[in-house]
Amino acid sequence: MFAYVVKRLISGVLVVTLVSMAIFLLFWYGPSSPAQPICDRETSNRCTPARLDTYERTLGYDNPVYVEYGKFVEGIFVGRTITIASSEYECGAPCLGVSFRTKQPVKEELVSRIPATFSIAIGGAFLYLLFGVPIGVAAAKRRGSVADKALVSSFLFISSIPYYLFALLTWLYLTITFEVPLFSDTGYFPITQDGPFKWFSGMFLAWVALGIFGCTQYTRFTRGAMVEALSEDYIRTAKAKGLPTRTIVYKHGLRAALVPVVTIFGIDFGTLLAGTIFTERIFEIQGIGWWALEAVQGRDLPVVQATALFSAVILICSNLLVDVVYSVLDPRVRLS
């Protein structure tokens, strides 16, 4: 067990290093000059070659790439001072750079955006399970009936529509056209400032949209896993003993069926955290995805770089966690 966790940890660290290198190189060699956006911004689009040169030199773009990558990594662990033209900016411990637009350390704004994104992910994921698992169990119990078939095909239909269009239509019609009271004001309102009700009502529509859309997948997984579990021999034994159906389905069947569902849930939660871009954009929730989009429009390369790195790390960590949890739940995994 311990050896397995260590092995997974090492490969996780390796992937994080490789991904951070790839992202760094991309932002180094990708743009015609990495300093062009800030130069354009600071000189209000009158960026002369001489000025561009000043920006490039102070930002360190005339050094070899590996030296700068070293500084970048050093900045993440101990912090650094970043010079842009003639001004110096202090960038504390996990330094991810300084925003071209606000000149604030990227990390601080990233941290301030996390609660909004987390709120979406937690609420959405909760509804995935709340809707998905019971419906899946109910369908598996009535396997082959008209209700089951109708459910399976209607869920296939919903999940075949692109998510963002589904979310867009929910928002446009429920919030804008019909102004349904509970959904009338979507967005992120911090609990500490506006109170829990405002926070809840701002998020509610996003959760419902995510939940309805995402639960189709969970229903399918749960149904499949339950159908399989209910055809096992020990279920037949339980039936033969005369156990009540409720006990058979929930205690013996569901427990076995939940293992794969938990795995997929872990991966999905990571994806949710890293990729709520559509949800944030449509429901006007100003989380990390929204911020990344703003940064793309404002050519704020350090912010884009930081969000990409952050999301990749979150995903890698959640995959790692799922693997470890799975190996605890199912010992066959770590033996292979």
């Binding site: 990708g30 743009p31 793309v296 990409a308």
Partner: protein, 344 residues
């Protein structure tokens, strides 16, 4: 079943068989000459949903391929003479009544109306948007499949260190979602090429590259698994014993046996890419310089336009939904037809 009811032509071949044949095995004899692909096609043709979806997909393909002639036949084009001739600047830039909805009746001149503010013809933009969507999705699917099949073949067949390394890359790429990659690359492409004359083409190429780079892993995994099973089969071992070079084994012996998983992975990729292309354009990080359904949707979600002119939003939206939905359902039917055990 008695001998009288069976036709004379089956009598001869069945004469050595016992009289009481069960109908299933007789049926099995009749279709014995068909290849697995033909059996699958036969199953598909009987599936009503699959046929309807195939027709819908075909309709979109025709729209995409003949976007030019069709728009010429309706007398519409991507070019707009002068926006002020078509839209009413005083009325929030909404189309003038004589241009059709929302303020006027349907006109043959602009069958789907014109866009607010810019006065672009909706039908022409819809047709060319369909072309862009399918072109990007199909090209990316092609590239991603080729890469995925090659990686999967190599990893599965060679095994050992090669397999370990390739599997590591598959896992690594799987941790990075499309959306994130596209988001990261968009500002870089913008920064490097935004002054270039063919910025639109570069954007589309970049999009295809991103979709391919982050789309091949599923196929690679699927193919690797199949190859792992196939390489222990007798015909592959026979080929090895005969001294067939590895490349020939891979492409002559293994590849033809991988038709089903390749078709399955294509059927999964196409609708995903169509949806992603439009989704990225909607976020403003895909095709921003040119025609795309996603971009039209982005413009149409402007709240004044949406309140006054919802049809402008619904036209591209229904296009995407119908295309993605029918591609998905068709793909589902194809998967069922190729492997009927999975579902029932």
């Amino acid at each position: 079943m008695s001998a009288d009811t069976a036709g004379p032509e089956t009598l001869g071949s069945l004469s050595t068989e016992p009289e009481h044949q069960d109908p299933n095995s007789q049926q099995a004899k009749e279709i014995a000459g068909k290849s697995p692909m033909r059996i699958a096609l036969g199953r598909l043709a009987k599936d009503k949903i699959a046929v309807v979806c195939a027709v819908v997909v075909l309709f979109f393909i025709i729209c995409a391929v003949f976007a030019g002639p069709i728009s010429a036949a309706f007398g519409v084009s991507l070019e707009t003479p002068l926006a002020s001739e078509r839209v009413d600047g005083l009325n929030q830039g909404l189309p003038k009544p004589e241009m059709g909805p929302p303020n006027g009746p349907f006109t043959m001149e602009h069958p789907m109306g014109v866009a607010p503010r810019t006065g672009e013809d909706n039908l022409a933009y819809w047709l060319y948007g369909c072309r862009v969507s399918l072109l990007i999705a199909a090209t990316a699917t092609l590239f991603a499949s080729v890469v995925g099949v090659i990686v999967g073949l190599l990893a599965g067949f060679l095994g050992g260190a090669v397999d370990k390394m390739l599997s590591f890359f598959i896992d690594m790429f799987l941790t990075i979602p499309f959306l994130l990659a596209a988001l990261t690359i968009a500002p870089i492409i913008n920064d490097r090429f935004n002054l270039s004359d063919n910025y639109g083409t570069i954007q589309k190429t970049a999009l295809i590259v991103v979709l391919s780079i982050f789309g091949w892993m599923g196929t690679a995994r699927l193919i690797r698994g199949e190859v792992l099973a196939l390489r222990e089969r007798e015909f592959v071992q026979a080929a090895r014993v005969m001294g067939m070079p590895t490349r020939r084994i891979l492409f002559k012996e293994l590849l033809p046996n991988l038709a089903a998983p390749i078709i399955i992975s294509i059927s999964l990729m196409l609708p995903t890419f169509v949806a992603l292309e439009a989704g990225l354009a909607f976020l403003g990080i895909g095709v921003t310089d040119g025609v795309s359904w996603g971009q039209t949707i982005l413009k149409a979600t402007n709240l004044t336009f949406f309140r006054e002119y919802p049809q402008y939003l619904w036209q591209p939206l229904l296009g995407i939904v119908a295309l993605v939905l029918s591609l998905n359902l068709l793909g589902d039917a194809v998967r069922d037809a190729l492997d009927p055990k999975t579902r029932r």
